[in-house]
């Protein structure tokens, strides 16, 4: 019997020097959905992602992860590379690709498995892996940039590359922190379409400010405000909610 939740966030609180960035946050992420976290600046969205992928340690609470067909895993207290191995990938807010490597090398480093020293010296990516890379690059529109140094890509292209790097590692959960930042309307729309497409293969967690983008792609939206969950539901409910409008949309949010 598999759990319909892939991620259960249980009573998470984080305290930085007496300031509570998150207070008692509880929510579940369902399998094969696109789950958005929105909220004004300082609401704790990025901190929440940081906790899931072990960049930050929570002060209290824990996070359970239920991979497809496997036992549940407690993520809190695990090392970040372990969490990646278990199938949780993350794209950061500032695009962080390896600037001095080519697009292709960036993708090869992100392939699933083969992370050991021996493998990296003597192993070679298999034919399927290379085909996989090609198809992902096609999808994110970087197929003709294979041999370009990642550092010389435009900002939006770096975002695409980083999304591509997540896709190629075939995660069960893919977390995207503001994937549409620095992209124009058409590219943002395309990103949305890709998200809807990839939720068949994995679960997507997104932080985003762009409301059109949220409307386009979201299955579930969680609104965070000052470290607490304000409400959760589908996008039309959220938009209709008076408190949400007051704290977020009412202030002329994007």
């Amino acid at each position: 019997m598999t759990n319909e939740n892939i991620l259960e966030i249980k009573n998470i609180s984080v305290c930085f020097d007496g300031f509570y960035a998150l207070t008692d946050v509880r929510t579940n992420v369902k399998r094969h959905t696109v789950h958005f976290f929105i909220g004004p600046n300082g609401a704790g969205k990025t901190t929440l992602l940081d906790i899931i992928c072990a960049k930050t340690k929570p002060t209290s609470g824990n996070i359970m992860y239920y991979p497809e067909g496997r036992e549940g895993i407690r993520l809190t207290g695990m090392k970040e590379y372990k969490i990646v191995e278990e199938g949780i990938g993350r794209k950061f807010q500032v695009p962080s690709v390896f600037v001095n490597l080519t697009v292709l090398d960036n993708m090869i480093l992100s392939l699933k498995g083969h992370k050991g020293i021996f493998d990296s010296i003597f192993g070679k990516p298999s034919k399927e892996d290379m085909e996989n890379i090609d198809s992902v690059l096609e999808r994110v529109g970087l197929a003709d940039k294979k041999d370009v140094r990642a550092g010389s890509l435009a900002h939006g292209q770096k975002q695409w590359l980083e999304i591509g790097m997540q896709l190629v590692s075939k995660p069960e959960i893919i977390m995207l922190d503001e994937p549409a930042a620095g992209m124009g309307k058409p590219e943002t729309f395309r990103t949305g379409e890709i998200l809807k497409d990839i939720k068949k293969e994995c679960t997507v967690i997104v932080i985003e400010h762009d409301m059109d983008f949220v409307k386009q792609a979201a299955d579930i939206v969680t609104v965070l405000h000052e470290g607490k969950i304000l409400m959760e539901g589908n996008i039309s409910d959220v938009l209709a909610d008076k408190t949400v409008q007051a704290v977020y949309l009412g202030r002329g949010g994007e």
């Binding site: 191995e85 600037v99 001095n100 490597l101 080519t102 480093l109 020293i117 070679k124 990516p125 550092g151």
Partner: protein, 366 residues
């Protein structure tokens, strides 16, 4: 043809250096060169080897070790202990007598035979660097913190070596030793010297091939990835600390091999090879030659040492000190890629050869 030149530029350059070096004994036999120059070039081979190791860890992985002199000296001491025992016939040495020791101490025992000594040359630095690297990298000490700690460690080791003089002969070090192939001084032993020279050249070629192989694989790309974005590499699922420890140990072993080669040509080893200043001198070779390219390390080691050899005699000693200080400072400030980087920037052809300066501004933006 032009394409090949661009792609294989560094290998062609290396082949050129090797051919020149291979001709050295010939030139010596023809009377075009004196024996001290040959010995000096032999030492340069050792310097080039340690520079390649240092480049792997600093140029590629971005970890600045200010303590590679320690591993160079560990290799050197291991070799020297064997050679010393060869010349005393396995008996205890004078300085041990003076230090109050009655029989050969246990730490010297493995150096009675050659195979075991060679094992020790590799094993001792590997274990030392492995332990240090494991703990330091596991607790994610990085950047300048690592540099400062490596500096302090080297200094501590240096003090220890001087303090334990019954075992190490303190400040004086281990002197009056012959090479592995017997004496290399004088005309009668010319054959020994040539043998030693060519074996050393062979070692340099092997290390070059090893480094080239490693950086050409995914492993090499990963080192660059760690240098440019350590956190990102962790979040790509790599155990960065393991990789760092591995490279640290590898470069320490390479340094130790270089030290062992060095001792054969130098005829002695002293704790001054273990100092911070000496360790940074090695970094200077790599910086000026061009960090992040194996050939740069080789070029730097030969070039700087050749200049020093020719300039640092008599009145030029003072000027040389000013010159090397200024050159180093200017290289770091304005020519981050060193000589090789400069050549690549001004004669671009290979698109992958990214101008270092450009990469830097992009990192700053991120």
């Amino acid at each position: 043809m032009k394409d090949m030149l661009k792609k294989q530029g560094s290998n062609i350059c290396f082949a050129f250096i090797v051919i020149l070096l291979a001709l050295v004994p010939v030139m010596f036999s023809a009377g075009l060169m004196n024996s001290s120059t040959v010995l000096f070039l032999g030492k340069c081979i050792a310097f080039a080897v340690v520079a390649m190791g240092l480049d792997l860890i600093w140029g590629y992985t971005g970890i600045l070790s200010l303590g590679h002199g320690l591993y160079f000296a560990l290799g050197g001491y291991a070799m020297a202990m064997y050679l010393k025992l060869q010349s005393t016939g396995g008996k205890i040495t004078d300085f041990m007598h003076t230090g109050g020791l009655e029989e050969l101490p246990l730490v010297w025992k493995p150096f009675l035979n050659l195979p075991l000594s060679i094992v020790m040359i590799i094993l001792v630095p590997a274990v030392v660097s492995g332990v240090i690297g494991y703990f330091i990298f596991k607790s994610r000490v990085k950047g300048v913190y690592f540099s400062i700690i490596s500096q302090a460690l080297t200094w501590a080791a240096y003090s220890m070596f001087i303090a334990l003089s019954p075992y190490t002969n303190g400040n004086v070090g281990i002197t009056e030793i012959k090479s592995v192939f017997g004496s290399i001084k004088g005309d009668a032993n010319r054959g020994n010297m040539f043998l030693l020279f060519y074996i050393s050249l062979g070692i340099m070629i092997l290390i070059y091939a090893l480094c080239k192989f490693l950086v050409g694989r995914k492993f090499g790309k990963l080192l660059i990835a760690i240098r440019d974005g350590e956190n990102r590499t962790y979040f790509s699922g790599y155990r960065v600390s393991r990789y760092k420890t591995f490279v640290y140990v590898l470069s320490a072993v390479i340094a130790a091999i270089a030290g062992a080669v060095f001792v054969n040509f130098n005829g002695s080893i002293t704790p001054s090879q273990m100092t911070i200043a000496y360790s940074i001198t090695m970094v200077i070779w790599v910086a000026i030659g061009g960090r992040g390219t194996i050939i740069g390390a080789v070029i730097g080691a030969f070039l700087i040492n050749l200049c020093e050899y020719n300039l640092s005699s008599g009145a030029m000693v003072e000027i040389w000190q000013y010159l090397i200080g200024a050159l180093f400072c200017i290289t770091i400030l304005f020519f981050k890629g060193g000589i090789v980087g400069f050549v690549k920037d001004h004669f671009p052809g290979d698109k992958k050869a990214a101008p270092a300066a450009q990469a830097k501004t992009e990192e700053a933006k991120v």
